[in-house]
Structure formats: structure tokens, C-alpha cells
Amino acid sequence: MGEWHIPDPVRERLEGAEPADILLGLVTFNDGATAPGLTRTLAEGITRAFPQRRVIVVNCDAGSQDGTPQSIQEKLEPEMQYWAFRHPVLGASLKVTSESGVPGREEAVRILAVLAEKLKVSACLVVDGNLKSSEPTWPQVLVEPILDKGVDCVLPWFRRNRYEGTLTNTLLAPLTGALYGKRVPYHLGGAYAFSGRFIRSILLLQPWDEGIALYGFDGWVTTLAVAEQVDVYRAGLGPRVQQGKPMGDLSSVVAQAVGCVFHLMERYQERWESVTSSVAVPTVGTPAGLGAEPGSINVHRMVAGFRQGLRDLLPLWQLILSAETFQQVLELGVEDTDTFRFPANLWVQVVYDFALAYHDRLLHREHLLKALTPLYLGYIASFVIGTRTQGVEYVERELARLNDHFETMKPYLVQRWRWSDE
């Protein structure tokens, strides 16, 4: 099960180690300001919720210079078992971006998964060390479905403002919902819980050195959870407050997140072709929903980005999009920003055409994914313009309508995918 990937200190620690019931894994990098408090909160939460369970806390650190591992140990009770390792940072994962800010995060998660398997834990909790907004109830919310109901995977669901996570809300979530029949509204990770069975039979069998290292763990595991035949829950964890800035360079974020979904579409083709409807995965904890705050959004800049794409990337879009979709994109009126409208069904067509072009390798795949960015900006600008004067319920209804569009137009994708395979 991938023993050759474990660093020597980890292998040495495992010799003669006692099994545990719950593994609390923390992934950190210079998180001395947040990780100790986070660990203490979660450890107390585990002890309170599962007093009879054997717990081990494992910190995988990328080489902090601020003494994060030591600070974490100081905050834990002496009787709490605590291991700290420095995980290697492989070249491939330096390109991957994540909200955790931890370089080589994928390698850290793999080590935690191997430890969980070796220690025969029933549940493994993986948390990013830069979270500030932790609650003592998180362990119970995340782990209880696994221990009591036999659930395989509990994904986080943080509360967001109405225009936060637009890439997730308008592309990743509706696309994966339409493909695999399970709607998961949050794809950014932060805190996961996995069963021992899920780790053994699915997670450790993934291509860590290629797939996960290229696309990042969060998108991979979220798509995996909905694509595989496993029980998935989502856990409402309240707002997400973290140390560090949001991920930068939008085109890289788009390429990584969307590329992950497109890549896995090829692997799970037989599964998603036959799915015709979707359901929301069961929820534990407080349902998140959308907050009312719009946040700071520069719609003019987004429309300008789309307009420039329309001017400079037209030859590429003509290659990628079907003739009908291309014609409709051309016809989008961009004279006046305030009346700019990008219809939802056209956006769905664009996404499906890009998925097909990715499958057919019409362009270098990274170029193709990055060429989607101006179109994404155009759709988001239109979405914001059309909903900013309305209440948050209106935004939620529009997103639900978008989900429906992805599902009703899925035969378009299936038919053209099969046609291109012939």
C-alpha cells in the first residue's frame, strides 16, 4: 500500500505502534499563529465527543520556521498521543495551489492516509492548520457519521457570501452534480473526515504522483467522493476564517480545478454517462447556505476580461466551441456593461464544449483550460449584474436553475462524447 512513499522517521515511528480509533491529522506550514489553538479546540472536541476512543494527533509540517510543531505539542494534554513529521515537498506539487498555503500538501495527506491505514483507525480527520474559525463541535460533526452510521467520507461545507466561490457554484458543483448524481456545494477542503475503509480501498489507490499531484487533493477527493459508490455526507462548519490570502492567479485556479473534473470524467466515463438526475448529499451540522454580503467585485474588470478574450482568443475559441456555441458567444452584446447578459444555457454549452475539447485534445490541455478563464469572467459578470439588486434567496434560486440547466443539457454532452469516441 505505498510503503515506499513513507519517510524513514514515519516508518520508524510505526514500528510497534498501538492501533488507534481516531487520527487527527494537521497539515501545517508556518501556522504558529493558528495551528496550536486549532489543535487544542479539535482535541478537546474529540475527547468530549468520543471519550472512550483512542486518539492520535499527527502533524505533517512542510518545514515551518516558526516552531509550529512544537507550539502544537505545547497546547495538547500530555496524555494525548502526538506525532510530528516533516513531509517532503515534491517538485510536481509546487505548481498546485490550495487555500491551505502548505507546499506539498498532497504528500502530507498521503502520509496521514498511510498512517491511518497502518494504525487501523476507524476515522481519520484531516484539517488545514491555517484555519482560525474552528469549533469544538467540528470533530463530532465530521466523525460521528463515520463511526455511527458507517459513512465513508464527510466533506466540509463552509458558509460563504453570496458571490464567494463562484467557480464552484457555477461550474464545479453543478457539473459534478449533473455528472455523478450527487450535489456537493463546496470544493475547497479545509477539514475532511474519512473512514478507514475509504482510505484503504479508495484513497490509497489513487495516482498520488500524477493525478493528485497535478490537480491538488481538494478537487480530487471531492470528485472522487461523488464519483465512487461511497456514502458521502457534508458537514456544515460555519464560516471559514483563515490566515493567509486567497489563492491568486485565477487562470491557474481554473485550470487546476476544472482540469481535475475533466480529467476524472475520462476515468469515470461509464458511470456518469448513465446518470440522469442528482440529489444533494445528506447534511450534518448547521446547513451553510449563502451569506448576504456581496463582497468586493469589480464587474467592469470582468467584462473587460471577457471582451479581451473575445478579441484575442477568438481563433482558439473557434477551435474549441461547437459552431452553434461559438456563434452565440460572438453575438453577446458587450457594448454596455450594465446590460451585459451571458445566458445560463450558453454557459452550460461552453462548459460542455470545453469538456469535449479536453477529451479530444484539440489543444494543449493546460492552454485549453486557461482559455476558459475569460468566458468564466463573462458569465460571472453577467450573473452578478443580474442578481446584485436582489436578495440572497434570488441568488440561490438562480444557482438552482443553473444546476437544472446542467442536468437537462447533459444529453448534449453524452451524445457528443460518444460520437467522438467512435
Binding site: 460563504r160 466561490g165 463562484t166 468586493s296 479581451q308 482558439l316 484539440l362 489543444l363
Partner: protein, 233 residues
């Protein structure tokens, strides 16, 4: 006297017959080589085109943008057909030169040897050209997309500069490989490249310093004031 005339006629006739007897087999060899060249050329072309179609060569060529580049250069046919045709003519020319060699003419002595000596350079130059075109398409596309996503207005100019820079470099390498006016090509490329760099430096340093300052200030202010704080993911 009539005997001398008769002897002269006979001797001339015999000489002529002798020369014809020597030439005819060589002519026959030439015709045979030409016909063989046609047949082998067609066979090689057919096999090559079939193999390239079987490995979906044209699909890869289209993906790498090479087909579009060839179309702009006037080659509308698929590249597999072009390669097949090039293979046919190569084989035919080789056989034709063997036939010409068989004539044993002083002017064509050693022609085959010279041609065979030139072939590796031509193949290397062809490969260099192909790689150069592929790289220019790839990096031009990458530069264009990156510039558009960074909302740099001169995105197409940047993409074009990248493409033509690589193509010029490739052309210089191909001509050098073929040994065509090597010194002239190296000198011309150095002068052109150095001249472009010098011109850009002077124009930015002297003539465009105010514009450069304004652009940098605008970009810096834009980054500070207009960046969205929304998390897209």
C-alpha cells in the same frame, strides 16, 4: 578508290554500331531505374501514408497547430499526404540519379555520392524546421493566453513576437545546417537580434520612459485598488 570509300563507310558504320551497343544497355538501365523508381516510390508513399493514418498522425498535427501553419503557407492537404508525396519524390530522384549514373557520363560522375552526402543535412534541417514550428506555435499560444488572462492589451503583439522570434531563430538554424551562406546567416541574425534589443532599449529608455512610468503606475494602482477580494473557488 571505291575500296577506300567502302572501307571508310564500313568502319564508320561499325564504330557507330559499337557505340550504340555500348549506349543502348545504359539507356535501358536508365529507363529501368526510372520505371523502378516510379513503382518503388508509389509503394513507399502508399505504405507511409497508411502507417501515418493508422497512428493518427494527422490528428496530432492538427492539435499541435502545424496543419493551420501549413495551410497558411499554401499546403492545404493533410501532412501525411505531403510526407507521402515527399517520400515518393525522394525515392524517385534517388532511382533517377542511379539511372543517370548508369549512363556513365563524365559530367554526372560521382553525382550519387554527392547527393547521398547531402541527405543527412536535409533530413536534419527538416526536423529542425518541424520542431521550430511546433515550438513557436506552442509558446506563442501560451504567451497569448497568459497575456489575455493578465488583461495585457498587447496580448496579440506579445504572442506574435514570441512566434516570429522562435521562427526566425529556427530559420537561421536550418540555413546554417544546410550550409547555405552560413556566415551571412549568422551575421544577419546577430545584427537583427542585437538591433531589435538595442532599439527596444533606446525607445523604452529615452522615448518611452514617461509611457513606461505611466503604465507601471497604472498597473500598480490597478493591482492595489481594483483587485477583487472574492474567492473564486
Amino acid at each position: 578508290m571505291s575500296n577506300v570509300w567502302g572501307d571508310a563507310m564500313m568502319e564508320a558504320f561499325r564504330d557507330m554500331m559499337k557505340r550504340m551497343a555500348l549506349l543502348l544497355p545504359k539507356l535501358l538501365a536508365l529507363i529501368s531505374f526510372v520505371l523502378l523508381g516510379l513503382v518503388v516510390g508509389f509503394v513507399v508513399k502508399a505504405i507511409l501514408v497508411r502507417v501515418l493514418k493508422a497512428v493518427r498522425f494527422d490528428v496530432f498535427v492538427e492539435r499541435w497547430g502545424l496543419q493551420a501553419t501549413l495551410a497558411k503557407a499554401g499546403f492545404k492537404q493533410p501532412l501525411s499526404q505531403i510526407i507521402g508525396r515527399a517520400a515518393f519524390w525522394t525515392v524517385f530522384v534517388i532511382f533517377a540519379i542511379m539511372g543517370v549514373d548508369a549512363l556513365d557520363l563524365p559530367a554526372t560522375a560521382g553525382l550519387m555520392g554527392q547527393l547521398v552526402g547531402f541527405v543527412p543535412s536535409v533530413i536534419t534541417a527538416g526536423l529542425l524546421l518541424l520542431v521550430g514550428i511546433l515550438l513557436s506555435n506552442f509558446f506563442a499560444e501560451a504567451a497569448l493566453i497568459a497575456a489575455v488572462n493578465a488583461q495585457i492589451q498587447e496580448a496579440r503583439l506579445i504572442g506574435g513576437l514570441v512566434r516570429w522570434g522562435i521562427l526566425l531563430f529556427t530559420a537561421a538554424m536550418v540555413l546554417t545546417q544546410l550550409g547555405i551562406a552560413k556566415e551571412v546567416v549568422v551575421a544577419a541574425f546577430s545584427i537583427l537580434f542585437g538591433g531589435v534589443v538595442l532599439a527596444v532599449s533606446i525607445s523604452v529608455g529615452l522615448g518611452g520612459r514617461n509611457i513606461a512610468r505611466d503604465m507601471l503606475q497604472r498597473r500598480w494602482r490597478k493591482d492595489k485598488e481594483e483587485r477583487d477580494e472574492m474567492a473564486h473557488l
